[in-house]
Amino acid sequence: MPTHVQESSKPRAAAVRDNRAKFLERAMSRHHYSGDALIEVLHTAQELYGYLTPELLKTIARKLKLPPSRVLGVATFYHFFSLEPKGEHSYIVCLGTACYVKGALGLLEVLERRCAMAGSTSPDGKVSVNSARCIGACGLAPAMIRDGEILGRMTPEKLNEDLDRIGVE
């Protein structure tokens, strides 16, 4: 799965953490600090930091010489970018048509009952729940993505087991 879709849930080594600003700088310089590369830079920033803080957005705006309004506008327009911290694990339920007719709502219901409402993170910071429009795995409907990995032909039972495994109450 793409590196930029998921934020690694494991704690990063301190060295990497310290170098994050440097990695971001390198990404911007690779694009010659061009404003056209805003989306690529936001992808990189989110990959490094997990989510986009206001400070991060301001820094990017300054370096790419863009108005902060434009940076915020883009960051909020696209579903991929998150302005809030994510949970340790991420569950994305596909609500595409194929999954929908095969009972995806039942899966979402399990997550919402046990973890958090779609679009939010459980209070203990353990699980983020999201829905997706279609992840293109229609042959495996109903499908979901757990920490970047596609799980096909899911059932509420399998999902419950999975949640038990990671220690959700």
């Binding site: 799965m1 793409p2 930029h4 879709v5 061009s34 404003g35 056209d36 590369a37 805003l38 989306i39 690529e40 936001l42 992808h43 434009r70 506008g73 883009v74 327009f77 696209y78 579903h79 991929f80 970018f81 609500l95 595409g96 048509t97 194929a98 929908y100 007719v101 095969k102 709502l105 979402l108 219901e109 997706a132 429009r133 279609c134 992840i135 293109g136 795995a137 229609c138 042959g139 495996l140 409907a141 499908a143 970047g148 990995e149 596609i150 799980l151 096909g152 032909r153």
Partner: protein, 551 residues
């Protein structure tokens, strides 16, 4: 590499394969990977190593083998057999040279003569499952990049365009604009800087054709783009891929790197004077970016909002320069047309819709997966013969084509042939190729509500008919599914539908009412059964059923 070297590489690879006893292809498309294809592939590789027959047997990954519902799939070249639901424990039997051992797997064999395979006509998917997408040599061995070589050395750009025009190829993204005409428009522009863009922002729920092509045969798309660039005079290309398609992104990145290393892309392509670079742009999750002007805005790093056309992108696109935008499947057809000629392509399909179309079958259907059929094939043949019909004795109710911009087609119209005009005539569209089958458990009003919710969330908010209209229509549909609607609500739905169709800025809003209009047309009784007023015996039941489906 030079053109001579291209042919030498091909014959060397083919010679090498002749010395092999067998080559085993493990489907490594997203579907099979998620049911354990990687461990099957590893088990086969380990087994080959431990049996010490590395020079004789080979295992490789491959693109989608089609029958996704039976994954993980493995294809054995020697005996031309396809095995489904393969487990790592099957590896010894799979590689065995003793037919008796292989007989153990007979229950896992898929019948390649079955209608699912026999009724398909593969052009775009010809290599899918027959080449290793991570290895450019495999693509070259299958004749890859020879069409590009032919275009560069034997044809002028105008001749390439003429060939595409003769073929009658039309845009596979849904709208069906003649591809040759579009290329000519871009070629005619006098400026030096032009761009070629591949639209791989496949957003329709239920559609995974482009994903499979990119994952299974990425070089075919690159070659098609390079030929297009030569024809229109562009030196820079972009592929705009959905961020959700991680594997496709990874395979494209590696394909571009390999092609550049071999001088099949980049500077001095095939040691001729032609140069063309391709960069990837990763989408960030906005359905509207499939619309061409929104896609351009997104590549430029802006909010993906469409703009008024004209000017159309062939005149003023990326950074104001002439830009050719085609869909993945359109580009995937190009190399074969150049190789075999426009006349050949034009001989396939119907009068106005030439060639083949790839469809993704999903929903309540026996054989979910990826298929490619000749244009003009009746829906019934696709769903019942190829798709195997509704599983477990269920009863077919409707098929949805074209995603949120398409419509629901009922049983009585199943003899409609799939081509651009016929599908439009029944109120749906060809769309990008998602086909979702629904049985009698699906509530059509709820289906319409589902698509309207989709359009409501994905509306970019720029024009009012779409921004406000989708919200109003969704409210009414939600009310109807709760059993609280009135006859006036249905009238209002119809009025709003025509308003959105007429007044929205881009395709998203203009086509958003299609699912509502078709369900109203073909399943009106389901709407009426949900009305509050004339509460018949049936109304209460179906409202309760709808309540169960609702979130």
């Amino acid at each position: 590499m030079t053109i001579e070297e291209l042919y030498e590489t091909q014959s060397a690879e083919l010679d090498r394969r002749k010395r092999l006893e067998n080559r085993i292809y493990c489907c490594t498309a997203a579907g099979c990977i998620s049911c354990g294809a990687e461990s099957v592939k590893k088990a086969i590789a380990d087994q080959i190593r431990s049996s010490g027959r590395e020079g004789k047997l080979e295992v490789c990954g491959s693109g989608c083998l089609g029958l996704c519902s039976r994954g993980p799939l493995v294809y054995s070249e020697r005996d031309n057999e396809l095995y489904g639901e393969v487990a790592p424990e099957d590896a010894p039997a799979l590689i065995s040279s003793n037919p008796v051992d292989r007989e153990q797997l007979r229950f896992k064999r898929a019948d390649l003569e079955a209608p699912f395979f026999a009724k398909q006509h593969r052009i775009v998917l010809a290599n899918s499952g027959r080449v290793d997408p991570e290895n450019v040599t495999d693509y070259i061995a299958a004749g890859g990049y020879q069409a590009l070589a032919k275009a560069l050395t034997e044809m002028t750009p105008a001749e390439v365009i003429a060939e595409i025009r003769t073929s009658g190829l039309r845009g596979r993204g849904g709208a069906g604009y003649p591809t040759g005409l579009k290329w000519e428009l871009v070629a005619r522009q006098p400026t030096d800087t032009k761009y070629v863009v591949c639209n791989a922002d496949e957003g329709d729920p239920g559609a995974f054709m482009d994903r499979s092509v990119l994952e299974g045969d990425p070089h075919r798309v690159l070659e098609g783009m390079a030929i297009a660039a030569y024809a229109v005079g562009a030196q820079q290309g972009f592929i705009y891929v959905r961020g959700e398609y991680g594997l496709a992104i990874q395979r494209l990145q590696s394909a571009i790197r390999q092609a550049e290393r071999e001088h099949l892309l980049g500077n001095r392509i095939l040691e001729t004077g032609f140069q063309f670079r391709i960069d990837l742009r990763i989408g960030a999750g906005a359905f509207v970016c499939g619309e061409e002007t929104a896609l351009i805005a997104s590549i430029e790093g802006k909010r993906g909002q469409p703009r008024q056309r004209p000017p159309y992108p062939p005149e003023s696109g990326l950074w104001g320069k002439p830009t050719l935008i085609n869909n993945v499947e359109t580009f995937a057809n190009v190399a074969r047309i150049i190789e075999r000629g426009g006349e050949w392509f034009a001989s396939i399909g119907t009068e106005h819709s030439k060639g083949t179309k790839v469809f993704a079958l999903a929903g309540r259907i026996q054989n979910t997966g990826l298929i490619e059929v000749e244009m003009g094939t009746p829906l019934r043949e696709i769903i019942f013969d190829i798709g195997g019909g509704v599983p477990r004795g269920g009863k077919f109710k409707a098929v949805q084509t074209g995603g949120p911009s398409g419509g629901c087609i009922p049983e009585e119209l199943l003899d409609t042939p799939v081509d651009y005009e016929s599908l439009a005539a029944v109120g749906s569209i060809m769309g990008s190729g998602g086909m979702i089958v629904m049985d009698e458990t699906s509530d059509m009003v709820d289906v319409a509500r589902f698509f309207m919710e989709f359009c409501m969330d994905e509306s970019c908010g720029k024009c009012i008919p779409c921004r406000a209209g989708t919200v109003q229509m969704h409210d009414i549909l939600a009310r109807l599914t709760r059993g609280e609607g009135t006859p006036a609500d249905i009238d209002m739905l119809e009025q709003l539908s025509s308003l959105l169709k007429e007044a929205s800025l881009c395709g998203l809003g203009q086509s958003a009412p299609n699912p509502v209009l078709t369900t109203l047309k073909y399943f009106r009784h389901e709407y009426e059964a949900k009305l509050k007023e004339p509460a018949g015996a049936g109304a209460g039941d179906s409202a309760a059923a709808a309540g169960g489906e609702e979130r």
